[in-house]
């Protein structure tokens, strides 16, 4: 049986999740040139926000049709609050400090958020079970799609389209583009750059929260460390697609997800490569791909304006 279509779908799903999180890295970088390493933890708090709504707010046995929108709302609220709080109290005071200071702050914040959830969220010291959508898997030809994955398949493109519309067509979106190009001039032209920066953080967090709900539905469990590895992968996806470019984040995510999946499934079939083919090597191949792309196209797949930023 040909497993390629199924593996491509597996990769697409994994990649869409990377993409949703990568948008947060890329938007914040595009506007304030800060790599927000706490973004993976903002993603994680979103998942716990959704879980809180389901377990502690809604009555037991609420159907997922009603619960899911509310969980999504809870996730977005928590993520956005954490992100805006981080911007206000951890990053804004360091806006004019040397570039390394906010970077280290971000790493510290990432650890602090992880440990805070570990210490204070009930029973979060090991993985917690995330509610699942009922209903069997769907078979399309030789491809099986889980019920929980349908959320991701629908949410990722819609989120992307909404974001594109927002950035291109609305006044605030154009303000963001202006701030990204030149914050000082944008300020002189009457753009409230502080507000734009907060919006960038909030939007990135909202997308991470959608990704976090998708993660919970897909894997059925969340834990306080879930954001760390996923955050690194999403950051990689953002660089792969061209950091600062929102379409690049999505494309980079999907390329990375498919590369990992195909490496797991097919490298071992190449004669002489058996020992490099297992899933534990998939990350290695994904990063080989990243290095090759950066060697040939240092700005990433869709990146355009890195040169004037260096």
């Amino acid at each position: 049986m040909n497993e390629l279509p199924q593996q491509l779908v597996n990769g697409l799903l994994l990649g869409s999740m990377y993409g949703l999180v990568a948008i947060g890295y890329t938007m914040v970088y595009g506007i304030v040139q800060l790599i927000n390493f706490a973004h993976g933890e903002i993603f994680m708090t979103g998942a716990f926000g959704a879980l809180t709504v389901y377990v502690y707010v809604l009555p037991d046995g609420t159907s997922m049709a009603i619960a899911l929108p509310l969980m999504l709302f809870g996730a977005v609220m928590v993520s956005v609050t954490v992100a805006v709080g981080a911007e206000r109290f951890a990053y804004r005071p360091l806006r004019n400090a040397p570039r390394l200071a906010p970077l280290i702050t971000a790493i510290g914040l990432s650890l602090a958020l992880q440990q805070a959830v570990w210490a204070w969220y009930p029973e979060a010291k090991s993985a917690r079970v995330f509610p699942q959508i009922e209903g069997g898997p769907f078979e399309i030809g030789s491809v099986t799609i889980q019920t929980g994955d349908i959320f991701l398949l629908v949410a990722a493109p819609i989120s992307m389209a909404v974001l594109a519309y927002f950035v291109m067509k609305t006044r605030t979106g154009r303000g963001m583009q202006a701030t990204a190009q030149d914050p000082d001039t944008a300020k002189l032209m009457g753009v409230n750059t502080d507000r734009i920066i907060v919006i960038a953080f909030a939007l990135g967090a909202a997308f991470a929260a959608i990704g976090a709900v998708a993660y919970g539905l897909k894997y059925g469990q969340i834990d306080f460390r879930m954001g760390f590895i996923l955050g690194l992968k999403a950051f990689t996806a953002a660089v792969l697609g061209g950091i600062g470019n929102i379409y690049g984040a999505m494309i980079g995510g999907v390329v990375l997800g498919i590369a990992e999946t195909l490496a797991t499934a097919y490298i071992a079939d190449i004669p002489g490569m058996e020992q490099f083919g297992s899933q534990s090597w998939a990350d290695v191949w994904a990063f080989v791909l990243l290095i090759l792309v950066l060697l040939l196209r240092p700005q990433g797949l869709l990146g355009e304006r890195v040169a004037d930023r260096a």
Partner: protein, 409 residues
């Protein structure tokens, strides 16, 4: 303004840091036990107390604590009060080695129970051996720890201070293979491991025996223990035509792996070792886990008459966490150290000698008593002489013992 907010952040951060330190030190407290004066002997515990594997690690810590309290209550060793110091290794070899160094530096520590992970044990063995401090693991199953890296050909004990009450994978893997092939009648296996000392070793001993019996390995994969997405592996399993999956590794990965394999459409059981024999496995694997199998060391604790008392005492002590897979073995590990301390104290006219650590290590080699898990004694390699194993299956959301026995050639 800038100044003020900086101060606010510093204050917030230091408050956070203080809270975190408080969390850390809470774990290393342990019960002081009620005096009775005289010498205080500390039993160190090293296990993952936080993170994915904490369900197993906390069971170990509590069981050792119970052993120490029982010895104190019975005044088992006249003039000696036992207390425990628990260290968190987060299942990381580097953290384990730091803990080992810290335990060696604490002069009142005369024995250590732990760790959970074979890979962590590897990093600790030399530190303890140099200090002649005895280490008894309730859970390590990798054969190389006691029989040297060449254990399949020539057995040679690398460290004389290391003992374990658990059975080795040299027995566990083949035992699982025999059950899967002869009893469950599965002939085509897909073998997956996590490349760690424990998982890879277990998968290798299983594979060797399964092939010897006439079974076929239709595929192999090594997963990344940090990953949660095993969909690519699951698709491969489905298309390989395997009728059973063997996984060498632990439940944080085994749970999602089992779920994703079943989701992909392969309704075949996942079989693992003692690393997946935990309540959390069933929680993480979800409803599809029914029929999954695990082997674990020893007979089921609840069935042994010797264990009834342990289970009752454990319940009476009101520990927050379950004793989990290694509770009985941890209690026996701690008790073998307590027995050894008693012997050393008795031989020295009622008080501890100056070279107590070396003497305790020598005494552990010769202990023999009826413990929670049966007769506890050690062979010339430091392995338990009790080599019982049990197969468990998931039924209605709980592990049920299916078959107990020992592996014979």
């Amino acid at each position: 303004m800038r100044q003020r907010s900086l101060i606010a952040i510093t204050a917030a951060l230091s408050a956070g840091a203080l809270t975190l330190t408080a969390c850390g030190s809470r774990d290393s407290g342990g019960d002081k036990g009620s005096d009775s004066g005289g010498t205080v002997v500390t039993i160190g515990v090293d296990a993952p107390l936080t993170g994915d594997l904490s369900a197993l690690g906390l069971g170990i810590k509590n069981s050792v604590d119970l052993a120490a309290n029982t010895a104190n209550k019975q005044k088992f060793v006249e003039g000696v009060t036992f207390k425990i110091v628990a260290k968190d290794d987060q299942a990381q070899p580097s953290a384990g080695q730091q803990n080992a160094t810290a335990l060696v530096a604490d002069k009142s520590v005369l024995g250590v129970v732990g760790p959970l992970n074979s890979s962590v044990a590897e990093s600790m063995q030399k530190v303890f051996d140099d200090a002649k401090l005895v280490e008894v693991s309730p859970a390590n199953t990798n054969p190389a720890l006691t029989q040297g890296t060449d254990w399949a050909k020539t057995k040679k004990r690398p460290y004389t201070s290391y003992f374990r009450t658990a059975t080795t994978d040299a027995i566990q893997g083949p035992f699982a293979a025999q059950y899967v092939y002869n009893d469950a009648k599965k002939k085509k296996v897909f073998v997956i491991d996590d490349k760690k000392t424990y998982g890879a070793g277990l998968a290798a001993t299983f594979t060797a025996e399964f092939k010897k019996l006439g079974g076929k390995v239709v595929g192999t994969q090594h997963i990344n223990p940090d990953a949660k997405d095993f969909s690519a592996v699951a698709t491969e399993v489905k298309n390989s035509g395997a009728d059973v999956v063997y996984y060498g590794g632990e439940y944080p990965q085994a749970g999602p792996l089992s779920k994703q394999i079943k989701d992909a459409g392969a309704k075949i059981p996942l079989v693992g070792g003692d690393g997946i024999y935990a309540e959390d496995f069933i929680k993480l694997a979800g409803s599809g886990a029914s029929g999954d199998l695990a082997t674990s060391v020893g007979a089921p604790v609840e069935d042994l008459p010797s264990a009834k008392e342990f289970v009752a005492n454990y319940k009476a002590a009101n520990y927050k966490e379950d004793y989990a897979a290694y509770g009985g073995y941890s209690y026996d590990s701690a008790w073998s150290i307590i027995e050894a301390v008693k012997k050393v104290v008795d031989d020295n006219g009622g008080k501890l000698p100056d070279d107590a650590r070396a003497k305790v290590t020598a005494a552990v080699q010769n202990v023999s008593f009826d413990g929670v898990t049966g007769k506890v004694s050690f062979d010339e390699f430091g392995d338990a002489t009790n080599k019982q194993l049990t197969v468990y299956a998931v039924e209605n959301g709980a592990w049920k013992a299916v078959k107990s026995g020992t592996y014979s050639g």
